[in-house]
């Protein structure tokens, strides 16, 4: 069943229930709006070379799409849509020194990897490819695993947040 909000809208015109797509799927897609209603999604085109950083990690999926496996605890704009990649900051920004940590399952090998979600800092928020997923996210009083913190705090560039990376720093055997 469509979400209540969509029902209400549709009802005004059709006065009937529509059964097209699951509410859960719909809401999960809207989660990414938290960090930017009206953000601009990019075409989901695979970027050659985007996986070059860690040849040991088998990869699948589009690193410029929120559904990519590394983004299971992502909350921000994907740097690959801002002039960088999943592991590199766009020109003119700096990498945040400390950040939040998540653990995501790689569908290509079934292993769980430890992901460091470093922010890129020093320019205003990119606004492209907003993505929010909250696996393992904790509240502000447990910041190490919280994606609600502006992790540019403490970086060389201070709090101006631009976009977020997903860097694999460990594997859980």
């Amino acid at each position: 069943m469509l979400g209540k909000w969509l029902d209400n809208t549709v009802e005004h015109v059709t006065r009937r229930q529509a059964r097209l797509t699951s509410r859960r799927s719909l809401l999960s897609r809207f989660g990414l709006l938290v960090i930017g209603a009206g953000f601009a999604p990019l075409l989901p085109v695979f970027r050659a070379g985007a996986f070059a950083e860690a040849p040991g990690i088998p990869e699948e999926g589009d690193p410029n799409h929120c559904s990519y496996w590394r983004y299971c605890a992502m909350d921000g704009y994907l740097c690959g849509c801002c002039g960088g990649s999943a592991t590199s900051c766009p020109p003119g920004t700096v990498v945040s020194d400390i950040t939040w940590i998540g653990t995501c399952r790689n569908p290509a090998d079934g292993k769980h990897y430890v992901i460091s979600y470093n922010d890129c800092c020093g320019k205003s928020a990119c606004g492209n490819c907003g993505c929010q997923r909250d696996e393992g996210d904790t509240p502000l009083y447990r910041p190490q695993n919280s994606n609600n913190v502006n992790w540019c705090a403490g970086s060389q560039a201070d709090v101006p947040y631009h976009c977020s990376l997903a860097v694999v720093i460990g594997v859980k055997e």
Partner: protein
Amino acid sequence: MKHLCCSVLVTLLALASWSHAEFTPEFATVESLPDQGGQHWFWMYGFRAPNMGDSRAFLMDERGRHLGQLNTGFWAKTVINSPQRGNIITLETYFSRGTRGERTDVVVLYDARTLAPVREVVIPPKRLNAVKTRHLAVLSEDEKFLLVVNYTPAQSVTIVDLEASAVVEEVETPGCSVLYSAGPRDYYAICANGSFLQLKIDDSGRVIARRRSDSLFDAVEDFLTISGSRIGDTWYFVSRDNNIYGITMAGDNISLKGMWPLVTDAEREAGWMIAGMEHTTAHEASGRLYVLVQQGERDDFEKPGSSVWVFDTATMEKQQEIDMQEMTMSIAVSQDEKPRLYTLDFHIPLNGLATLWMAIMEGEDSLAPLVSQRANVYDAVNGEHLLSSDMLPPGTVLGVKAW
């Protein structure tokens, strides 16, 4: 070199003198807010992602129309009404070159009638930049002190004397963050291990006691979210595992008043869970607690809510379910006798068939770039939907509160 300026003025005068003898030219004026007089005004405010350098607070009137705006700098999250002072208080951050250069954090006091800044206090440039909007600063009950939560990533609290326009001191709060009031001079932060840290200040704003409580909740299996709401001396929280916690904070005393399930087994089975960002609010006089919920999956806890459940905190029984008209991120209730429930919502400015058509043909992702924001207003007693507000200019905000 004022001659162009003057020539324009002369032109204006000349044009005015062309006028018909009986014609009275108009003059431009500047509004002040009318007498608030218990009207249901409310704020929508926040960082306006991805325009974080242009944070704003939008004041809306009883009919949901724009009354005015505050400009609150970079990644601003705090708007506090200070009725005794006749001020609106904000926490603002500026960089000398917009997104680079020297950082300055200020407490700004706005005149509550003219919405013009009247005074500012420069504070250490350390305030916490978070996605959430509440409990990042607390105004003392007598409106004399403002306590500001810092994160650099060292955790601390800055105490500001608003009368003296001066910083009193900064105290470390290692492992603890956000702040809740527990009386005229007592405040509690939540700590990572499930305990609370008390900060007691004296009448000069200095911290005279800093004590850590026992652990009051399971910080591993059932986190409290920070969106707490106060009724009397009890703060009500919800938890990641969908329980309601009542934690009494009264001066030096802090204790767990109780823990109740937010959802029944059947509701849990059906996927009912917490939702959104500022997902609790309370009407103190009636003792009613409002919780924003959704049907979702485990990690959806910050996704938009579809319903607000109302609990009587005397019995902890659910009294009411209010269906949301749109996708709700944050909720707030006014404290008067005919309270309003304000919801900060995502809104798709398409009619139903166009929405459906886009969802089917282009996929639901295609709707995301279309979404804007506005508030909906409900009767907080009977749940009736009263109105939808003006839309906001583009840029996501996450805060809503009553005047």
